[in-house]
């Protein structure tokens, strides 16, 4: 399989008045063409920062990328100029955000916002793109597409707005779509529809998708591969088959167990909370909350260890059997 995106040893830090916060630490993963990769983890585990880094949308005043490379179709995105990045953003790589109400401009009509994509990436089509837009919205099951185009975002429901965001992402005919919690703000019924649409879009354009969510149910439904992140590190990378039956990292197991459908008189919970990003990482990041921690976990840093089935796990306990990777 051809790799479309390869992230190598990426680290992201934020310099604030409180000190240096490490949001992403030495993260490596790859995305194959046409693959759906799910990233899960609690808030504060670095999922969104990773996606923003790939898009080149981190605030340069505070964020720093001390090391790493992001290779997209042979080019290192971190080395490109802003102008070159602009050509890729919105056409080859597009993004759907969590809060469609915040991502759309409230004072510009939907049609104008959609046409903007053409203006930037395909100016020749601007004049006669109306019919194309209507058919695209109809494909995304938006009733009354003609009317919707004339509306302002605030006149639309949350699900409709998210559909407009997906339409915007589709217009660029991307190679890679990043969906950052695309359904978190929506009702279950709308969530199911939006997920269907993302699948539809993926089938139609053959694009790869990075799906960021904290809902393992969504991952189960959509993804081919899952990356579990904790404190900015990759703790488990796994093909979707097998992950739900026998996750290896204790954090993955805890996340799976904490789903409400696993309730049996008591909710399975993870003790404590995720430490903030200013706390230095010593030993295993998860050892303070881990039920299976060994004495060495608090001092010795675990490395990612590869398993026969292509998965990688960062844990002292379950990697005793595995083969050292580094």
């Amino acid at each position: 399989m051809e790799k479309i995106l390869e992230v190598n040893h990426l680290s992201v830090e934020f310099k604030t008045t409180l000190g240096t916060a490490s949001a992403v630490r030495d993260l490596s993963f790859s995305v194959n063409r046409g693959e759906i990769v799910g990233i899960v983890g609690e808030s504060g585990s670095g999922k969104s920062v990773t996606s923003l880094a790939v898009m080149g949308l981190l605030d340069e005043r505070t964020a720093r990328i001390p090391e790493g490379e992001i290779i997209f179709e042979g080019k290192d995105l971190l080395k490109l100029s802003e102008k070159e990045l602009c050509k890729i953003r919105g056409s080859e790589i597009t993004m759907v955000f969590q809060e469609p109400a915040m991502a759309l401009n409230p004072v510009v009509k939907v049609e104008k916002q959609l046409v903007e994509i053409y203006k930037i990436h395909d100016p020749s089509k601007v004049k006669n793109c109306h019919a194309e837009l209507v058919s695209l919205l109809e494909k995304l099951r938006i009733p009354d597409a003609q009317q919707v185009l004339k509306k302002y975002p605030f006149e639309l429901s949350g699900g409709m707005k998210q559909r407009i965001m997906i339409a915007m992402a589709m217009l660029g005919k991307p190679q890679l779509l990043i969906a950052d919690e695309p359904t978190t703000a929506l009702d279950v019924t709308t969530q199911a529809e939006i997920l269907d649409l993302i699948k539809l879009m993926q089938k139609e354009t053959g694009c790869a998708v990075i799906l960021i969510t904290h809902d393992l149910g969504v991952i189960a439904e959509m993804a081919d591969k899952v990356l579990v992140m904790y404190r900015g590190q990759l703790v488990e990378e796994r093909k979707i088959e097998g992950f739900y039956q026998e996750a290896r990292h204790p954090y993955s197991k805890d996340l799976l167990g904490a789903r409400p459908e696993k309730f049996d008189g008591r909710f399975w919970s993870i003790p404590g909370t995720i430490p903030n990003a200013y706390t230095p990482l010593v030993g295993c990041g998860y050892c303070t909350r881990c039920r299976e921690a060994l004495p060495e976990c608090s001092s010795k840093t675990p490395h990612l260890t590869a398993f026969d089935d292509g998965s990688q796990v960062r844990c002292h306990r379950c990697c005793q059997k595995g083969v050292e990777n580094e």
Partner: protein, 329 residues
């Protein structure tokens, strides 16, 4: 409806808002946020209210506690009538305030329900002093005890909300509500803003407190899986009306109303490869401003017949204790 064992009884509760049609017309249309809802919650039980956003769940919770003035119906709390709009009977303010300490509310967003200028301790203490739960000298110790019972550290007493994470704030909000030793707690999406792992911690704590303090919960949520696990009974709400209610497992596993079925079919699968039920729901939720005639779900229902378009179904028994409002039953 009346049951000796129920702590709170809600009879034909209505809350209408009038929405003006324009600047020059004085006449408005009614937005029926809660339309003729009857429920009863048994002592030490939890009743879950589920539905999509905008179906009137939160408005109902607030109206029951009279945080919003009702437009119709009657609510009886432990034998005392809080209000009866039809007979124009409203409990007088003094009595109501005394009763307030027995009914508490936990709001969804722990970021906006705590005053950022007040320490957590002061926030909890305010209610304790107002209702004279313990003598003034003992109040700080009592508050600390309460915070600890809800899983916070002693130091939380002197901290400000901004020092806390979402989960800790929600614990503080719950501690504040429970410090009044209430019997009835309305929880409006208490865990919607939290991560799954933290959600589990908070829900476990709420279950423990229910056991210790003999609490009765009205649990408002859009998450059917959480509600099924947490509650004894579930009522499903659609556009201001209850469309199905019954024991939690009965609703979860043997739902009869097409809307409940659609909600359940929309849930993500729990393991890959599982077959997802076919979702038969159409379109999105209509506006509260023009609720469809007849059965209000017929515009989205795959089984709708002519009867559904004209005649509004009443709640009827599908099996003992399991009610649903659908003509197909």
């Amino acid at each position: 409806m009346s049951n000796k064992n129920s702590l709170i009884e809600i009879d034909h509760l209505k809350k209408y808002y009038s929405v003006s049609n324009g600047f020059f017309t004085s006449k408005g249309r009614a937005l029926k946020a809660v339309d003729d809802v009857s429920l009863a919650v048994e002592r030490k039980h939890s009743l879950g209210i589920v539905g999509e956003s905008g179906c009137g769940k939160s408005t109902m919770g607030k109206t029951i506690l009279r945080l919003i003035e009702p437009s119709g119906g009657r609510v009886v709390f432990d034998g005392e009538e809080l209000f009866n709009v039809e007979e124009n009977h409203f409990m007088d303010q003094k009595k109501l305030q005394a009763l307030r300490k027995r009914m508490a509310m936990v709001f969804q967003d722990p970021y906006s329900s705590l005053n950022p200028h007040m320490t957590i301790g002061d926030a909890v203490k305010a209610g304790v002093l107002r209702h004279k739960i313990v003598p003034k000298e003992e109040a700080p110790d009592y508050c600390i005890e309460m915070l600890c019972a809800c899983g916070l550290e002693k130091e939380a007493y002197a901290s400000y909300p901004n020092e806390f994470s979402g989960g800790q704030r929600q614990r503080a909000v719950i501690a504040r509500a429970l410090a009044l030793k209430p019997e009835f707690v309305v929880c409006d999406e208490p865990t919607a803003a939290l991560d799954v792992s933290i959600q589990s911690q908070v829900l476990n704590m709420m279950l423990d407190m229910q056991e210790q303090m003999n609490l009765t919960y009205l649990f408002i949520s859009h998450n059917l899986q959480v509600t099924r696990a947490f509650c004894d009974e579930i009522a499903v709400m659609y556009l201001g009306k209850i469309v199905e209610k019954g024991k939690a497992d009965e609703i979860y596993y043997h739902s009869v109303h097409p809307y409940t079925k659609a909600l359940l079919a929309s849930l993500p699968i729990s393991e890959p490869g599982q077959k997802k039920q076919e979702r038969k729901i159409i379109n999105s939720i209509p506006s509260m401003m023009d609720v469809p005639k007849g059965c209000r779900f017929h515009t989205r229902c795959p089984y709708a017949t002519q009867k559904c378009r004209t005649e509004e179904p009443k709640l009827k028994e599908a099996s003992p204790g399991h009610l649903a409002a659908c003509h197909q039953i």
